[in-house]
């Protein structure tokens, strides 16, 4: 059984299609990454999956329950951290944890225990007595994510949870989530940061303008493009004729930007690089800077989004 089963899901606001006919399936115990630029439709998808808004079209099943027909049963089994901050401004951090647990009907003793554990796990000791409205944005975000673990759940939705966190806190959170997954939790995780998805997720869907561009494991995504390297060359001065000079070189894709920047993607990068350098030096073109790096997910992502249909 899949944990999340979505088929032909769409959401329209007037004439804009925020989510456009997406289908996906998430297995239990998996971290599923939902990756896309701003405005891609990530939050809209999460709001549908968490029963906050009804889909315009399509069906969705969460933990085997029809989420449109029986939202309350779904809500009992999921945890949700939306992109928007959510906090009780006048309560202290520890009090707001306790009240949140109370809202989920967690027994008092258990609430105490979990509050202490979360304060430890999320480094909140020094702010536990502070009121939520007095926290910094990053602290508030950490508190919001931590608070969600006051109750039990089978499936957790996180909408860009690391925005506003410093790199240390970000890494800590990802490691905490990994530990939770080992105990059987399934996570649906949206982000626009690829390194995060690469580090955390078992499977990644890339979404752009409401559509899923591709779904694959991070490794498969890399190996699909993995032999490719990216060569970057910056010229000392602008030369109009460079494009013509290099047009004869095969086995590569060359982009020219602004007359001085050349980006080359190729699977035979050594051969191509030699030929490019030879051609440039034969034509007395001076190079200011040169680098060659393996194509990372970031670039795959940018290219996928750029090459998506109707762009």
């Amino acid at each position: 059984m899949s944990c999340i089963g979505v088929s032909h899901l769409s959401k329209s606001y007037g004439s804009t299609k925020a989510v456009d006919d997406i289908s996906l399936s998430v297995r239990p115990g998996q971290v599923f990454g939902f990756l896309g630029p701003n405005g891609a439709g990530k939050s809209t998808t999460i709001k549908m999956l968490t029963t906050l808004i009804p889909p315009s079209e399509g069906s969705l099943s969460i933990l085997g329950i029809d989420a449109v027909a029986d939202p309350l049963r779904v809500r009992h089994k999921i945890g949700v951290v939306l992109q928007q901050p959510s906090y009780e401004p006048t309560l202290s951090v520890e009090k707001s944890f306790d009240k949140y647990g109370m809202m989920w009907d967690v027994p008092k003793k258990e609430r105490k225990k979990r509050t202490e554990q979360l304060i430890l796990d999320f480094d909140l000791e020094h702010i536990r007595k502070k009121r939520n409205e007095d926290l910094s944005i990053g602290q508030r975000r950490r508190v919001q994510v931590a608070r969600e673990f006051m109750h039990d759940m089978d499936l957790l939705f996180l909408d860009e949870p690391t925005v506003g966190l410093d790199p240390g806190a970000r890494r800590k959170l990802l490691d905490y989530l990994k530990k939770k997954v080992e105990t059987g939790l399934t996570i649906f995780y949206t982000t626009h940061i690829l390194s995060e998805a690469e580090y955390l997720c078992d499977e990644i869907a890339i979404i752009d303008r409401g559509r899923i561009v591709t779904v694959d494991t991070p490794d498969a995504l890399k190996s699909r493009f993995g032999n490719k390297k990216t060569i970057r060359i910056r010229l000392q001065e602008k030369r109009q004729d460079v494009q013509g000079m290099l047009s004869g070189i095969s086995d590569c894709e060359i982009d020219f930007e602004g007359g001085t920047n050349i980006t080359i993607h190729s699977e035979q990068s050594e051969m191509v690089l030699l030929r490019v350098l030879e051609t440039l030096s034969n034509n007395s073109v001076d190079i200011e800077d040169l680098s060659a790096v393996p194509t990372n997910l970031e670039e795959i992502f940018l290219r996928m989004v750029r090459d998506a249909p109707d762009n």
Binding site: K47, T50, T51, L52, I53, P71, L72, R75, H76, I78, V80, L82, Q84, P85, S86, Y87, E88, P89, T90, L91, K95, K99, M102, M103, W104, D105
Partner: protein, 253 residues
């Protein structure tokens, strides 16, 4: 525990902060003991139903209705705060339905309204005890007034909460509503002797009905006019409640 009780528990916890308590206790005390006795030499006796009340007793009993309005306007703001601080979405993605949320707000408003009424009644009691005439018939009238009044003003604040997005607009509207209700009413002075257009305005104000009903309950003078006022109060509360529920049901994220 039932989901509504859990939400009421949460609502009351977040409402009971020092600012709210000062608003709820200190202000009415200042009105009763400072204004009440300061104005007493100017306003000698106030006829009410079959009785003649002294001004401090008249004012202290008026403060009960005033305080119900006050506290329920404040707790009606829970919805406004929940939307601003993301708690509305958070709760609605948790183990609750929209009906749970709406009903819990009504219960919270009712509980806070009743508690404020009792508190002011207790504090004001020494001031008006001479004229008090509780009976089996009048206590239910006070409770009726407290609950319908709470629902009325709570619904009104909820309606304002769902209609306005900016906090400047919200504050201006709430304060204007509050000022009009508080001072164009029989909470502070009797309608008798007030010049005409103002006198009519008094009766366009739900607080006037609430205050009159509660006073009638305390001083045991239930006239036909008071019964009419009870009907008007219940009618207004019902209408505002239906509108507030409709708006809350349609509220999106």
């Amino acid at each position: 525990m039932h989901p509504i009780i859990r939400l009421v528990n949460r609502n009351i916890t977040i409402s009971l902060n020092p600012g709210f308590l000062i608003w709820q206790i200190i202000f009415p005390l200042i009105y009763i003991f400072v204004a009440g006795f300061a104005y007493a030499p100017l306003i000698s006796n106030v006829p009410f139903g079959t009785k003649d009340l002294d001004y401090p007793a008249f004012l202290a009993s008026g403060m009960i209705g005033f305080n119900i309005m006050n506290s329920t306007l404040v707790s009606g703001i829970i919805i406004w705060n929940d939307r601003r601080h993301g708690m509305f979405e958070q709760i609605m993605s948790g183990p609750f339905t929209r009906s749970h949320y709406i009903l819990s707000n009504i219960c919270t408003i009712g509980v806070i309204g009743l508690a404020s009424a009792s508190l002011i009644a207790l504090v004001g009691y020494p001031v008006f005890f001479e004229s008090v005439e509780f009976s089996l018939a009048t206590i239910p009238i006070i409770v009726f007034g407290a609950i319908t009044g709470s629902i009325l003003f709570g619904s009104l604040a909820s309606i304002i909460s769902t209609r306005l997005r900016s906090s400047e607009g919200f504050n201006v509207v709430i304060n204007t509503v509050f000022l009009f209700f508080a001072f164009v009413s029989t909470a502070f002075y009797p309608a008798q002797g007030v010049p005409e257009p103002l006198r009519t305005a008094f009766f366009l104000n739900p607080l006037t009905y609430l205050v009159d009903v509660i006073r009638a309950g305390i001083f045991g003078s239930i006239t036909e006019f008071v019964i009419l006022e009870m009907l008007v109060l219940a009618g207004m509360a019902a209408i505002l409640f239906v509108i507030a529920s409709k708006l809350l049901t349609r509220l999106d994220f």
